[in-house]
């Protein structure tokens, strides 16, 4: 028998004028590192790193389920609402969680849409963070598929979504972790993946903001997997090139969900990224 060091709790914050009951997990002590999951998934993507004693010896890893995802319920009245995530709501949610948990300039680590919003936050709220680890993150990608396929009455969105995103997983990924990763997409609520992808594939507002990111104050490190069809290494490089001082690492044997699909393969890249972040958050002026 073994009991993992990860603990989970709930906090309620206000987003867009209404309460959101948000589930969060954490493990470790030290520098706060707030971790954002991908579209259509939840905090379980981060569990391997949160169970890594060497990493959590000096880092307090915190991950939360976005509203509509995982154990975070959708807001009251969701039954008549079309879920469409926006940059504004996403930013407000992340900032509300930071405020609610009292985090002092955390490192922000986000993957996919979490990486996208990390770069938005780097541009718009850099002073709130001590650094950014943007994984499978880029300026913008239009959809290479019709996102409406993910939510229709005559096809199972979860099973279809998992079958589609399997295209983003590396053939080097251990089979068990490939399927653990896909399971989250199979479990995703109806229309949630579509609503996430609406944000991810339609909002290109980050592009003109990239040059305004000040990496002298808050470093930005981008990590991308070669097997990522959605955010390719070319996409990530284009994005890094647009941010003065940003750094980039390409993972030859990983895909779009590296911390989840291939934890051992991702670990050294994440440790390297943490090493590039300030050890202690500078005190706010």
């Amino acid at each position: 028998m073994s009991i993992e060091p990860i603990t989970g709790r709930y906090l309620t914050v206000t987003v867009q004028g209404a309460p959101r009951r948000i589930y969060f997990e954490e493990a470790g002590n030290g520098r706060p590192v707030l971790c954002l999951h991908t579209a259509g998934a939840d905090t379980r993507q981060w569990r391997h790193l949160m169970n890594d004693a060497e990493i959590t010896a000096s880092n307090r890893l915190i991950a939360f389920d976005m509203p509509w995802h995982g154990k975070s319920l959708p807001p009251e009245g969701f039954e008549t609402e079309e879920y469409l995530l926006t940059t504004e709501a996403y930013i407000e949610t992340v900032l509300a969680v930071i405020d609610g948990l009292g985090l002092d300039r955390p490192v922000l680590a986000g993957c996919s849409m979490g990486g996208r919003i990390a770069l938005q936050l780097a541009a718009l709220h850099g002073h709130t963070f001590s650094g950014f680890i943007a994984i499978e993150a880029s300026d913008f990608q239009p959809a290479w598929y019709d996102i409406d396929w993910f939510h229709r009455p005559d096809a199972h969105g979860g099973e279809m979504g998992a079958a589609l995103v399997s295209a983003n997983i590396s053939p080097f990924a251990p089979n068990a972790e490939r399927w653990n990763t896909l399971w989250m997409f199979m479990q995703s609520g109806p229309g949630v993946f579509r609503g996430d992808l609406s944000f991810y594939t339609k909002d290109d507002s980050l592009i003109p903001r990239l040059p305004t990111i000040d990496t002298r104050k808050t470093p930005v490190h981008i990590i991308v997997g070669a097997y990522d069809l959605t955010c390719t290494p070319e996409d990530a490089k284009r994005t890094a090139d647009a941010i003065p001082g940003a750094t980039l690492a390409v993972m030859d044997e990983l895909g779009h969900f590296p911390m989840s699909e291939h934890p051992d393969g991702f670990r050294p890249f994440f440790v390297d990224a943490l090493d590039r972040m300030p050890l202690q958050a500078a005190k706010a002026a």
Partner: protein, 140 residues
Amino acid sequence: MSPKPKHMTTWEAQVIDTFTHIQTRLDGAPHLLRLGRLFSEIVLIEVDGDEYYLTFDKGRITSVVEGPSRKTPWRFALRTDADALSQFWQARPAPRFHDIFGLVKIGRGRIDGDILSLVKNLRFFKEVMGLARASEEVAA
């Protein structure tokens, strides 16, 4: 029903052999037969312009026939080229060649026809196409 090919090249014979191999492996994969139990359609696989028709009946492949055939009512088609398909069938394909959507994204594959039928059976069809992959143990 389909015309017998007049001159089957080595590659064409290999494709037929590969899909026959897939047919055999599918028969031995209960989970795929369960996933495909509602799938009874004809799928067109086009390789370098050569057509191959896979007939599925309740998840089993019942025939692999080389075209062309204008009378075969295929449901959806995957069109690609021999090199791309060969790379796709490697145990650990190179990036972009590791998935049929990778082929599509780099312009080495095209999917058309009744996409809803594909969407409903996406995991099944992708895993069936992957049955020709060499085992990972070989590549390791």
